[in-house]
Amino acid sequence: MLRFLLNRGGQALIAAFGVVTLVFFIQRLSGDPTALLLPETATQQDIEAMRASLGLDRALWVQYLDFLWQMARFDLGRSFVQNASVWDIILSRLPQTLQLAAGALAVALLIGLPLGLIMALTRGRAVSRWIMGLVLACQSMPTFWSGIMMILVFGVWLRWLPTSGIGTLAHLVMPSVALGLLSLATYARITRAAVVDELSRDYVRSARARGAGTGRLVRHHLLCNSMIPIITITALEISQLLAGAVIVETVFAWPGLGLLTVQSIAARDFMVVQAVVLLGAFVTIGANLAADILYSIVDPRVRLGAKS
């Protein structure tokens, strides 16, 4: 296992490095930020001068080597657009992203898990099908639309929740629900499948034969044993949250990394985009690694890193 971890750890670093290199070059394929930083009336000379002052007129490979040298010193660079260190910018957005991720996961788990459990325990009956329909309906609306509907209903008409921005727990509710709805169905389905699987096991039959009630079964056995696939899914869902967060953060004016990503890409703020991608790469690759390890624990038939 240790050799596997070291091996995969090394591969993870190489993959992360590969991502950042890929992003470095493809970003520069499609223009640079100078035109956006300058007023419309800027002449070609103004643009060239600005490009030179930002160091963007140097040969691509020279810029790349400079970038590698920066990475080696753990220096994430400066944002062209915001005139601040990239590290500071990311640090200022990270808490909001973590809050949103935690909120979305809470919504997905606290609603998805129980629903999945109920569906498994009532499977075959109409109730189970209705719940599944409801759960799938949550995943059938674009987030920008469910977002604006929630803002209108709960923010403008009912005035129960604030319409946008951050600050209190009340501000976190609607964005978390909007983002969590996407994962909710996945959790419900996985839980249902896992619990159904468990229910067919011998220990359940013998427990039932001994007269154990459903509640006791759930608490002591079913949930615990169904945890593994749920954890596996969580690892994968976390890496997906950044992508889903982009739209939610735009609609709710939630200043997290998702909004930062899309704004920085639109502004060709190379340094910020690279840093965000690097962060995302570590999260994704780490989550995949964790999922693979858990997968091999669950199913011993899968041998890790086998030769062909």
């Binding site: 640079d32 930083l37 007023p39 800027a42 005139n83 921005g165 909004l259 704004q263």
Partner: protein, 497 residues
């Protein structure tokens, strides 16, 4: 009820009703967050909305559009290339130090220093020197006569020399020190900027204790904020959104014509628009009134030149464009090959897509073959200003603003043959533009711009459409007069209680 209870209730009632009614804060929703608050390191409207309240400029425009005194109380063109301004006394920065002519000269030198690499350099690079004279005056020297100088100085903010040098650029950006009616209280990056009133301001003191600027990228959310009372003023809404809030007694839409001129750009270096008759056909196909009154309806004024009534250089004698789709069809029918050439209409999400789509249909109805190509802004800019002019998109729609309210700021970049935006190559136009740019005689300038407008109109070099209007959403109690240069001065607003 008993005695004590009554007393208590009365006391509470008195406290509630006796609270000062004039203590007021304002929350403003912007479309994006300020990228920096140092007035000289960015060209970004969201930043400007905020820092124009923190800093004073040399001169400013009144709500009616005239250039009036601010830090400079009087000015005189002492020679063709020299402008001498008298600096106001008794102005202090937020850190208590006095504003001196040295600070003015320092601000000018800082922004015109190529090593400083300000994105605004292009606006001020005609200024070659700034020096203090006679103790309370500053003399600005320009590279040749430059009539638009005063219009550009409307945008030049005065920064404190001592503070900037002591803090360094980075720290100054994070906690800017200005002399304006509001000073910075808090800036949480990505979240909001909070300004507090400067009670020692030399001019009109602002009505709000604090002002919070929030970034809300989605227009639908900004409207919702306004309806829910989360925001008191929101920017960048379109006419359909304004119509939505019309029925609500608590909020209102405010609009004003701006110095933005909407125009349809044609690529004169590639078919079909290299043929003047086809350009004429395009012009006849566009129903300007239909767009301004039927689609936009926010107070837009149709124009047939690259200037608006808010600009110096606007000529009232230019005949408006004619709308005659049948005549357009006759022209395209006579040139089937040219008409069948596919035309790419380059655009980006920031441009009003309703107008883009309406224009596409109007042109296709008379026989053109126009297809929309929507990409993001940097890609669009790269295509629209490509080196190979023939490869640029056949059509572009834009709303040009020079932030100077002077025809030189529009006509020169869009029509001068060596400008990266221009597709025009007419030596007579070039000569007129150069003449108008350096003449200090208003009449000479007006005549030159009138001649240029006539040539554009006759040759259909560009198809100007209308003077754009800007729309804000505001709470009913807020009195705010939008201006043509889209300034948002907090101390010019009032709150009715």
């Amino acid at each position: 009820m008993n005695h004590t209870m009554k007393a208590l209730l009365t006391g509470v009632a008195l406290a509630v009703f006796a609270m000062p009614a004039f203590a007021r804060d304002i929350t403003i929703d912007l479309a994006g967050e300020p990228s920096s608050l140092d007035p000289q390191v960015q060209w970004n409207p969201d930043s400007y909305y905020v820092y124009r309240n923190i800093f004073d400029n040399l001169v400013t425009r009144s709500n009616a559009g005239e250039i009036v005194a601010e830090i400079a109380t009087a000015w005189e063109q002492t020679s063709d290339t020299e402008l001498t301004l008298t600096i106001r006394e008794g102005v202090t920065f937020h850190d208590g130090t006095a504003l001196t002519p040295e600070d003015v000269a320092f601000s000018v030198k800082r922004i015109t220093d190529p090593a400083f690499a300000s994105p605004q350099l292009g606006q001020f690079n005609q200024i070659t020197g700034a020096e203090v004279v006679e103790g309370n005056k500053v003399k600005l020297t320009t590279d040749g006569p430059y009539p638009a100088l005063l219009a550009q100085l409307v945008k030049l903010s005065i920064v404190p020399k001592a503070a900037v040098e002591a803090m360094g650029a980075e720290a100054f950006n994070a906690s800017p020190v200005g002399s304006g009616p509001y000073k910075i209280m808090d800036w949480t990056r990505g979240v909001s900027v909070t300004l507090a009133r400067n009670d020692g301001y030399w001019g009109t003191v602002g009505p709000f204790d604090t002002a919070v600027f929030r970034a809300v990228p989605d227009a639908a959310t900004r409207i919702a904020d306004l309806q829910a009372g989360t925001a008191d003023l929101v920017v960048s809404i379109d006419s359909d959104a304004a119509a939505q809030i019309a029925g609500n007694p608590n909020i209102k839409a405010l609009s004003a014509p701006t110095e933005r001129v909407a125009y349809l750009g044609l690529n004169l270096d590639a078919p079909p628009f290299n043929d003047p008759e086809m350009r004429k056909a395009a012009s006849l196909a566009i129903d300007n009134l239909g767009i301004t009154e039927g689609l936009l309806a926010a107070g837009e004024v149709p124009v047939a030149q690259l200037a608006s009534p808010a600009h110096f250089g606007y000529s009232p004698d230019i005949a408006p464009f004619v709308y005659d789709p049948d005549a357009a069809r006759a022209i395209t029918a006579a040139r089937p090959e040219l008409a069948a050439t596919p035309v790419v209409f380059g655009t980006a999400p920031v441009f009003d897509q309703r107008v883009v789509q309406a224009l596409q249909q109007m042109l296709n109805d008379v026989g053109f073959k126009v297809e929309i190509s929507m990409t993001d802004m940097p890609t669009y800019l790269a295509a629209a200003r490509a080196e190979d002019r023939a490869a640029r998109p056949g059509l572009t729609f834009g709303r040009w603003s020079c932030a100077c309210q002077d025809a030189d700021g529009i006509a020169y970049p869009l029509l001068k043959s060596d400008s990266s935006w221009s597709r025009v190559n007419d030596p007579k136009v070039d000569a007129l533009l150069e003449q108008a740019r350096v003449s200090l005689d208003d009449k000479v300038r007006l005549d030159a711009y009138a001649e240029v407008a006539k040539m554009v109109r006759e040759n259909y070099y560009v198809l100007p459409m209308y003077q754009a209007a800007v729309l804000y959403g505001a709470a009913t109690g807020l009195t705010f007069e939008p201006t043509a240069n889209e300034s948002m001065f907090l101390n010019r607003m009032t709150w009715a209680e």
